[in-house]
């Protein structure tokens, strides 16, 4: 197997060190045994985990410096993707992707008041935020889930959102809402009257998702993030960011699942030989590792495009999501087949990767949604 498993081949020395530090932190604070233990807790998150992670800068990388932000290399998206890849490898819980999206959004679009109220606390892991975007049926079109009705300069938010990661532990919600004026975003506290957070069960056991109902939630002008009716571009950038960080998490999970499978194929014997030496298994592993290498390659391109804010960043992010979404499921299914019966047992980690990667495929838009989006970007 290829030694280098990073997303790209040109990490700086500082970035490589950061990657190692991140991996060590995860191994020390939340290894898979701990991930399993957390599956049965009410929050799904360990005490102090977010605060410790924040000390490593997990939630500061995309924030302005004056509000506690900063990243190792100055390339915040790439640094965050390094964390994401390691997180995926270790199936880490917690709202890493949505918190970074909210921080990024507020840093760019928030009022000074919003920034100073929220960002330092996010950066320090002392406050938690998440992003309300999709409808409960998995419709990711921005504005499709929550509706904002304007009444004399104030707003009333109504509707039901779904797949809101970790809303049950969030202090703040960034709500992307449709309105007569156009797409508008709001920052509202989870404790606001009329906000109902309903934790759900999910295929993925390592992250928590909630349905969030908005029953005539009042939001004043100071709660608006950015321009009323003018959030299209900001939401597009948030989506790209969420997509590439999620893709990086997926690639990390794929790599870990594949390595685990490869070791098994070399160690497990049948008919007197390692099963990996049978051509059927060998070829399946070769195809699977092709999907893995291709995923790493396209993820790297997408991360770089979003980092550099290139004109094609939205398209490349969607390409990466469409490809890696399917490839992640293919990989987990193929690995399962190589493991055979042992992969069907609860105590083996294979199913945790299967669950995670299958969930990743649909979060922030399933592959077919992104394919349609790509056609639309090209005015087809």
């Amino acid at each position: 197997m290829i030694g280098v498993v990073d997303l790209d081949l040109d990490l700086t020395e500082d970035q490589e060190l950061f990657r190692q530090t991140t991996a060590r932190f995860i191994e020390a604070s939340c290894p898979l045994t701990e991930v399993r233990a957390l599956m049965d807790t009410s929050t799904g998150l360990g005490d102090g985990y977010l605060r410790q992670a924040a000390e490593l800068g997990w939630f500061a990388m995309l924030l302005p410096e004056e509000h506690g932000g900063g990243s190792i290399s100055g390339e915040g998206v790439r640094d965050a993707a390094i964390v994401a890849e390691e997180r995926g490898r270790g199936l880490q819980p917690g709202p890493f992707v949505p918190m970074n999206v909210v921080g990024f959004a507020l840093g760019h679009q928030g009022s000074e008041e919003q920034k100073s109220k929220v960002l330092p606390a996010l950066a320090a892991g002392e406050a938690t935020a998440t992003w309300v975007l999709a409808g409960p049926e998995g419709d990711w079109r921005p504005g499709s889930a929550v509706r904002a009705a304007e009444r004399a300069g104030s707003f009333e938010l109504s509707g039901t959102a779904g797949l809101v990661q970790d809303a049950h532990v969030a202090d703040w919600l960034l709500v992307t809402a449709g309105s007569d004026a156009g797409l508008t975003q709001f920052l509202v506290p989870t404790s606001a009257p009329g906000v109902h957070v309903e934790p759900q069960r999910s295929l993925d056991l390592t992250r928590r998702f909630c349905r969030v109902r908005f029953e005539r939630v009042e939001a004043g002008p100071a709660d608006v993030v950015g321009e009323v009716g003018g959030a299209d571009d900001a939401v597009e950038r948030q989506l790209r960011l969420a997509v590439v960080l999620l893709v990086a998490e997926s690639v990390g999970a794929m790599d870990a699942d594949f390595q685990m499978t490869l070791e098994y194929a070399k160690a497990r014997t049948a008919f007197g030989r390692p099963i990996g030496s049978f051509q059927a298994v060998k070829h399946q592993l070769a195809d699977t590792s092709l999907a893995l290498e291709a995923s790493k390659a396209v993820a790297a391109a997408a991360i770089r495009a979003v980092q550099d804010d290139r004109p094609e960043a939205g398209e490349v992010a969607s390409i990466a999501k469409a490809y890696v979404g399917d490839a992640g499921i293919d990989l987990a299914q193929n690995c399962w087949q190589v493991f055979g019966g042992i992969g069907y047992t609860w105590d083996h980690d294979q199913h945790l990767y299967l669950r995670r990667l299958t969930t990743d495929a649909s979060l922030y838009g399933e592959p077919s949604w992104h394919r349609e989006r790509i056609c639309a970007i090209h005015d087809l």
Partner: protein, 401 residues
């Protein structure tokens, strides 16, 4: 043995129509109607208990006493000695009645173990066990795979060692579905280490509650624990427990594999060439999530429906080929198993594609909401259990092509 019942049907040479009419009357008088709203079995939500199974045994006993257990099995062992047509007639009449639900061990007992015994065990063995099976007193599971030997039969290391007139069994088995509530395991053990590896194997009947047998459920990824692992610690067996010939277990295993692949049924399921309703689970899912008019979701739904029908028709064809002796039975049976193993995994995945984000989450206790995810987690069972897809491809390549 139920000589009365047997007499009733065959000694009088009764006609199929008369049999059917009699069965209809008997069913109406003796069994409850099935609740039509009862959901199909959903693995991961259908945990059996030893206590719960007693009610099912009682129904099976009724069937036996009525003369409707083992309809095609030999009268010598408590069967009715009738034809496959009689079995089909009974199945058709009984469709709307509540028959015994032994869970997965039921299929193993009646569909795999007993049929393998009838082909290979001694008359004395059969006289001892088959009537008890037909009365619902013995549920059997397979003690076949081992932790270190999945697809590779020759890798079996569970051993039965001769000690005077006894056999002493040691080792471990795994993937025995339903062992935690069954009565017997049909166990493959190595009895001779001096011959080539695929020889020197023998099948034994192992009573599960006897000393030295430990059954430990294996928790599955769906949260249930239908599969078990067993540990044998100096378990005492006698020659009476041997099924088939000593050291010739390989041959018996081949027969068993054909039955396990779901083919060669005595009473072939007369799958009518009529498609069922359009993939009802997927249509329900698409409707619930508002995708019923989405052309991409509709393609996925139709694809599943097409495969469902094709798989049923393939089963008919393969069953016919096996009965016609058109080729190696075990090899042909691999077609059905491979179709299930590939189409099953695809179907589970299609559901997730139709459901997308909406199928990933559900409220606690919402069975409809969790069904696609549960089916997805069960999607590879047929690709792995009872011989992986790869083993079936080997079987087709080496025995049929």
């Amino acid at each position: 043995m139920s000589d009365t019942a047997t007499d009733r049907h065959t000694a009088t040479g009764e006609s199929l129509d008369a049999f059917r009419a009699q069965a209809r009357a008997w069913l109406a008088a003796n069994l409850e109607r099935r609740d039509p709203a009862a959901a199909g079995r959903l693995r991961g939500m259908d945990h059996k208990t030893k206590e719960g199974i007693e009610a099912e045994r009682a129904i099976q006993r009724k069937l036996f006493e009525g003369g409707y257990a083992g309809i095609t099995w030999p009268t010598d062992y408590g069967g009715q000695g009738l034809t496959a047509a009689h079995q089909r007639a009974f199945d058709e009449e009984a469709r709307d009645y509540r028959l015994p639900d032994f869970g997965v061990a039921g299929g193993t007992t009646f569909g795999v173990c007993a049929r393998t015994m009838l082909a290979h065990a001694s008359p004395a063995f059969l006289a001892r066990h088959i009537p008890r099976i037909l009365r619902g007193e013995e549920l059997w599971v397979q003690f076949f795979s081992e932790p270190g030997a999945g697809s590779d039969l020759a890798g079996i290391t569970t051993r039965a060692t001769r000690d005077g007139d006894r056999w002493i069994l040691n080792g471990s088995k795994i993937w025995s579905s339903g062992a935690y509530y069954a009565d017997y395991g049909m166990c493959l053990a190595r009895t001779n280490w001096d011959v080539p590896k695929h020889r020197g194997l023998t099948w034994f009947a192992v009573k599960i509650d006897q000393p030295g047998v430990t059954v430990q459920p294996v928790r599955e990824i769906n949260g249930d624990a239908e599969f078990c692992q067993e540990f044998f610690d100096d378990v005492e067996l006698t020659d009476d427990d041997v099924i088939g010939e000593v050291d010739h277990g390989w041959t018996v295993a081949q027969t068993m594999l054909v039955f396990e692949r779901g083919a060669g049924a005595e009473s072939p399921p007369r799958t009518p060439p009529v498609p069922g309703p359009l993939a009802p689970d997927l249509v329900a899912l698409a409707r619930r999530l508002g995708r019923a008019k989405d052309p991409v979701a509709r393609q996925a739904i139709a694809r599943a429906h097409v495969n469902d029908f094709v798989q049923a028709q393939l089963g008919r064809r393969i069953g016919g080929l096996i009965r016609a002796g058109a080729g190696d039975g075990a090899g042909l049976a691999s077609y059905g198993k491979l179709a299930a193993g590939t189409m099953g995994a695809l179907r589970a995945r299609l559901a997730m594609e139709i459901g997308r984000g909406g199928a990933l989450v559900w409220d606690e206790g919402d069975v409809a909401g969790m069904t696609p995810a549960l089916n997805y987690l069960n999607g590879r069972i047929m690709a792995i259990a009872g011989g992986t897809n790869e083993m079936q491809r080997n079987g087709i390549g080496e025995r049929v092509l």
